[in-house]
């Protein structure tokens, strides 16, 4: 099912230290984590973000520390999905395990602008830029991985599969 939202666009090599600074790593409550999302990258992020928005970024999004709070804080702050030219591997896994859908889409930073309204289909990987009137075909998550996301993340997924339902 395609979903619509607005874009917050960032550059290459956005690391998890600026997404979620180390000084807040002693926080374990997701709502409280969300109050610090993007704090060292974009001080206005929390003022701008609305539920269902998307992050669009360049290469190697989420590089650096394995801190899962980077994915959690974005998700709880309202981000419905991340589309990037490429992802650093631990962030990629953390997003999936949190139930935060992501798409690798080459060329997305050229075609999509900050503030654009886009429509994203995570099952097919198709991204429609409504504002700009362009379409981009991204790489959808492999079916096994997409299922984890659709189940709401790794824990609900495992609970479901462990109980055999």
């Amino acid at each position: 099912m395609p979903v619509r939202g607005f874009v917050h666009k960032y550059g290459d090599n956005i690391n998890t230290d600026v997404i979620y600074p180390g000084r807040y790593l002693n926080i374990f409550d997701p709502e409280e984590m969300a109050k610090h999302a993007m704090e060292d990258l974009d001080a206005d992020f929390l003022k701008k973000v609305k539920k269902g928005d998307f992050v669009v970024a360049g290469r190697n999004f989420g590089c650096g520390s394995s801190r899962e709070q980077a994915a959690t804080s974005l998700h709880v702050a309202g981000i419905a999905g991340i589309i990037a030219e490429s992802f650093a591997r631990i962030f990629y896994r953390n997003s999936i395990n949190q139930g935060l859908p992501i798409i690798i889409a080459k060329g997305v930073t050229e075609k999509v602008n900050d503030g654009d309204e886009i429509e994203v289909d995570f099952e097919t990987g198709k991204i429609k830029d409504i504002t700009g009137g362009v379409e981009i075909q991204g790489t959808p998550l492999p079916p096994f991985v997409l299922q984890i996301v659709q189940n709401g993340g790794l824990i609900p997924h495992l609970k479901k599969t462990l109980s055999g339902s």
Binding site: N13, D17, V18, R23, N26, I27, S65, E68, N97, I155
Partner: protein, 418 residues
């Protein structure tokens, strides 16, 4: 069976498969699952399963190192909750605030063996590949899944073969080699790849130097990094683990996505400049940048040979009056040896401050943070904006010798000239 890389072989044997070609998704059973203070987050997620036991009390390792001793009431509460969890669930391998950095304590206490699969909720878990293990960083949620089920899905990575040959020049170390490589390949140059290190430079390196290579491979995106085990590995592990292990080597005709050769004899000391680890320059190009802090320590470069290399530079000299030099032995074992060999005395006499073993200022959570406009030269692993305090402070990464030379001079300096 098709020829396999080390990663393919280890992941095949740990997922009950005959072979595991790159790209395949396998369900892996790790041998060791390590966490630090983020065990607090892991345990909170684990409890959502409603289980009354963990998968294996012997295979979970928890080591406090990020904020030791607790710097705030919040951290103290988090650490207390983990101690209670450890007790309740009978976790056998728990190391409290007095032991040191997880990536140093792990091998010291016998939790690292060749051929094993190690997962850790810390990105620098790649360090343990120095012993021939497949070792990689994961998130808290997936660690909670490992604690519950003993299994984790992984995509078998493609592999790079990096061959380093030639004799390292005076004052050039493993840190300089790997910074040079990160500069060449870029911070995502090895994203999702397994990196295997070969060559006479690597076989000539000490185990701690091999740990530097594997530790920092993470900074070019690697999923894991491996040095094939040899006599030095066995010697180092002797007396630390009594469990048997299997030696895993790549097949001669294994497929590598990329083969990279580095000639070590031509290298000079390297510096990673703000605010990216791949922004690497020869020390000559950044010489003279004024510094406020010099940091020696971390899971990258806080071992005896690192302290020794820095002490050699600084012996009989003093830390520049405009510089705060901080020295952090990586573990209690390292600390003790540094005391016994008089290495710490050298630093104290020079005017440095010795901090207790732990991550210290590296991740900006605890101790030694910087104010606006300040500059630190550091033997640690990341120089991201705001990493060590103010958003408007800067971190330069270099070898322990370069850090020491800079501490003496008050500006970034070439250790060959001190």
């Amino acid at each position: 069976m098709p020829p396999m890389t080390i990663a393919e072989k280890i992941l095949a044997s740990h997922s009950g498969q005959g072979d595991a070609a790159a790209g395949r998704i396998v369900n892996v059973s790790p041998d060791i699952a390590m966490s630090h203070e983020n065990a607090g987050l892991v345990s909170k997620i684990f409890l959502e399963f409603g289980l009354d036991h963990v998968w294996d009390r012997e295979k979970i390792v928890i080591i406090f190192d990020h904020r030791v001793p607790a710097e705030s009431e919040k951290t103290a509460a988090g650490q207390k909750a983990v101690r209670e969890f450890v007790k309740k669930f009978g976790i056998k391998n728990f190391y409290d605030i007095n032991c040191g950095i997880c990536h140093q304590v792990m091998p010291e206490k016998g939790h690292v063996r060749p051929g094993e699969v190690i997962v850790g909720t810390d990105s620098h878990t790649t360090t343990h590949g120095a012993f021939g293990a497949f070792s990689t960083g994961i998130g808290a949620t997936e660690m909670a899944a490992v604690w519950a089920t003993g299994k984790l899905w992984m995509k078998v990575p493609d592999s790079f073969k990096i061959t380093i040959t030639g004799k390292l020049p005076e004052m050039v170390f493993a840190k300089d080699v790997i910074l040079h490589l990160i500069g060449e390949l870029g911070s995502d140059g090895a994203d999702y790849r397994s990196v295997e290190f070969y060559g006479d430079t690597v076989s000539g390196m000490s185990i701690p130097s091999r740990m530097v290579l594997c530790n920092l491979s993470m900074e070019m995106g690697a999923k894991n990094a491996i040095v094939p085990p040899d006599e030095k590995t066995f010697e180092w592990l002797k007396g630390r683990t009594d469990k048997s292990f299997s030696l895993v080597y790549a097949d001669p005709d294994a497929f590598y996505e990329r083969e990279i050769n580095v000639e070590a004899s031509g290298l000079v000391p390297q510096v990673a400049c703000p605010h990216a680890v791949d922004n690497v320059k020869p020390v000559g190009e950044v010489k003279g940048v004024k510094i406020n802090q010099a940091l020696l320590g971390s899971c990258t470069n806080g071992r005896i040979e690192d302290l020794e290399a820095a002490a050699r530079v600084i012996r009989g000299k003093t830390v520049h009056p405009g510089v705060r030099m901080l020295v952090i032995p990586a573990s209690r074992e390292v600390y003790l040896e540094a005391i016994q060999r008089g290495i710490l005395e050298t630093f104290v006499q020079a005017g440095a401050v010795i901090l207790n073993p732990g991550c210290g200022p590296c991740l900006g959570a605890h101790q030694g943070l910087m104010a606006e406009g300040e500059v630190c030269i550091s033997s640690t692993n990341r120089n991201f904006q705001g990493r060590m305090g103010s958003r408007n402070s800067s971190v330069y990464l270099a070898s322990p010798a370069t850090v020491a030379a800079s501490a003496v001079k008050g500006e970034i300096a070439d250790p060959r000239e001190i």
